[in-house]
């Protein structure tokens, strides 16, 4: 549905992206994952024909976007990073305006707008000025706006940026619903690893160029990531460390400030339950279990180009100046910032 090949964009002496190549299949949710300044927005803006590339090609829904931008734009619903609704228009007027702008026939505008208002639970606010909506509701309206002409492709640039955790979750759920129920192809840019892991079928890690592409779990496996897990215990003991080491997939274990710190290899979703079951069976009183995202570890490994299988202690702060990977408090979200 989206074919991007060899994209290059320079802003004066600065090369924003170079040789960006990837493809997104029909009905797929594809994430462009990278720190700020990695070229995500530039790539998105080229795909939706807002800026031209210096080299490369973009094909959207079978249309060459560089040769026929008007036709390609018709197939794309675009959500820029900044809120993109008109505050002095009502929710309904916003949707009606964009429906007409994209050439939706007059008779279809009303029913289509009503359906979107229902889908996005905005019916009760249809006649309210968009400026009076909360940030989360405005983002919901912006996504509805991007869908109003029923495009097969949806480009979402940092759709949860600046939202509180509750609104961010709502938006993520909506993106998944739109992809599954409406059959849209979604290209989503984010620096939020948790979001990428939760929402995307496949992810491309970008930093000026595409560094890696694959399913989130594949990326973690490909990078041979060891995921650190911290188990807080009411009764820590060396015996429990030995029990942990006996569990398949646990490569190391030690006690640290009353916590059992283990490193896992393979799929943490299957190893963590086995580890906790073994510890409970051995008499452990578990207070909490914390682990970082395996994608987060893969991301850091790929972006830094560091040694494979490099392990970090869980939930810590990145050591380099470029990447700050942390587990967001309360939300369990891995966030990468540059």
């Amino acid at each position: 549905m989206i074919e991007v090949s060899g994209l290059v964009k320079r802003y004066g002496p600065v090369t924003a992206i170079e040789g960006v190549t990837f493809s997104v299949g029909s009905g797929e949710v594809f994430g462009l994952l990278g720190p700020n300044g990695a070229g995500k927005t530039t790539t998105m803006r080229i795909i939706c024909c807002v800026i031209p590339p210096d080299a490369g090609s973009v094909v959207v829904a079978g249309v060459d976007a560089l040769r026929e931008p008007s036709r390609a734009k018709q197939s794309i619903g675009y959500l820029p990073e900044v809120p993109s609704v008109y505050g002095r228009l009502t929710v309904r007027e916003n949707l009606e305006f964009f429906a007409r702008l994209y050439g939706v026939p007059g008779g279809e505008v009303g029913p289509r707008v009503s359906r979107l208002l229902r889908f996005f639970s905005l019916e009760g606010r249809a006649d309210q000025l968009a400026s009076r909506l909360s940030r989360g509701l405005r983002q919901r309206l912006a996504i509805a706006r991007a869908l109003v002409h029923d495009p097969p492709v949806l480009l979402l640039d940092e759709p949860t940026s600046g939202l509180d955790p509750m609104s961010a979750r709502e938006v993520r759920d909506l993106v998944v619903r739109v992809a599954r129920e409406e059959g849209k192809t979604v290209l989503l840019s984010t620096h939020n690893l948790f979001e990428a892991e939760q929402v995307c079928d496949r992810v491309a890690i970008i930093r000026r160029t595409i560094l890696a592409v694959g399913r989130p779990r594949e990326l973690a496996e490909r990078a041979s990531i060891r995921v650190p897990v911290r188990v807080a215990l009411a009764n820590p003991s060396e015996g429990l460390v030995r029990v942990a080491l006996s569990v398949q997939g646990v490569t190391s274990a030690k006690l640290e400030s009353g916590e059992l710190v283990a490193e896992l290899e393979g799929d943490p979703d299957s190893v963590v339950p086995e580890l906790s079951a073994a510890l409970v069976e051995a008499g452990a009183k578990i207070l909490s279990i914390r682990r970082t995202s395996s994608l987060e570890e893969a991301f850091i490994s790929v972006v830094r180009g560091g040694p494979r299988g490099r392990s970090r202690s869980g939930g810590g702060v990145g050591e380099g100046p470029d990447v700050d990977a942390r587990t967001a408090e309360g939300s369990g979200e891995g966030v990468v910032r540059a």
Binding site: Y11, V14, A16, N36, G37, A38, G39, K40, T41, T42, R45, C48, C49, V50, I51, S70, R71, K73, Q74, I76, Y78, P80, V82, P83, S84, V85, Y86, G87, R88, L89, E93, F97, F98, R100, L101, Y102, G103, L129, R145
Partner: protein
């Protein structure tokens, strides 16, 4: 080829937005009422009270003493002074209406849309730059021209009602010059203001900042007023027609330049 349905769609959207901004509507209404009612009242009643001296005392000229070739015969000093004010001072000042209203609208439509970030979704929509510029320029032009015409109608009514006794009946507009000012110079001047605002919007960080570019257009207005009041020159019909031709040329030049500058500025406003 221009797709007028899409141009109209953006234009109506912009008008709807203007109509909901107290600041924009207030500016247009205040100028219309000021030039349509308040200014004629000041001139007519000022002349009546002062006996014909409606210019500041520091200027040692009585308006009625200025050469007014088209003035009707047999006017007394007060009527002659009123006639002079509406023939020499008010026509150039009248251009402040399209200048101010269209500038405020254009700044909101171009720089404001950029400031609020909504221009990005318009650039991603199936619209050409020319269609988008045309829609927004027309949306900004119409309120300025509409306010001018509204003010002119009000001014004609108010002036005639307040001064009919001096002239022996309704007399305003005083000559064909007014028709050229209202129908030709005023829209062309408004378009010049819009084009300058669009140029400024390519760099301005806010709508307010973009408005300042067209402030330079106040200078010719002041020159026309003071030049005539001080007896330096008198603007006649032929001068107005020449001015209209010059304005049309400037407008054409800026229309070729401004949209490209603006859209280029908008496209590269952020680098990620």
């Amino acid at each position: 080829m221009i797709r007028w349905s899409r141009v109209l769609c953006v234009l109506v959207k912009d008008w709807r937005e203007f109509s909901r901004s107290g600041w924009l509507v207030g500016t247009a209404l205040a100028l219309t009422v000021y030039f349509g009612v308040v200014l004629p009242a000041i001139i007519v009643f000022g002349a009546r009270i002062s006996g014909g001296a409606v210019v500041p005392i520091s200027i040692p000229v009585r308006l009625g003493d200025l050469p007014l070739p088209a003035a009707p015969e047999g006017l007394d000093e007060v009527a002659r002074s009123v006639y002079a004010a509406f023939s020499l001072i008010v026509p150039p000042l009248f251009l402040v209406i399209p200048l101010a209203v269209s500038t405020v609208m254009a700044a909101d439509s171009f720089a404001g849309e950029r400031e609020r970030g909504t221009i990005e979704v318009l650039l991603a929509a199936p619209l050409t730059e020319r269609e988008l510029f045309l829609a927004k320029a027309l949306a900004s032009l119409a309120p300025g021209v509409g306010a001018s015409w509204g003010a002119f109608a009000l001014m004609a009514l108010a002036t005639n009602l307040m001064s009919a006794d001096m002239f022996g009946g309704w007399w305003f507009p005083s000559g064909p010059e007014w028709c050229v000012v209202v129908a030709l110079v005023s829209p062309l001047y408004a378009f010049l203001a819009i084009s300058l605002t669009v140029l400024a919007s390519s760099r301005a960080r806010s709508a307010r900042e973009a408005q300042q570019a067209s402030a330079i257009l106040v200078a010719p207005i002041l020159a026309a007023v003071f030049g005539q009041v001080l007896g330096g020159f008198a603007i006649g019909l032929e001068h107005l027609l020449i001015s209209a031709a010059v304005l049309a040329g400037l407008d054409a030049g800026l229309v070729a330049l401004a949209p490209g500058r603006f859209f280029s500025g908008v496209r590269y406003m952020r680098v990620d």
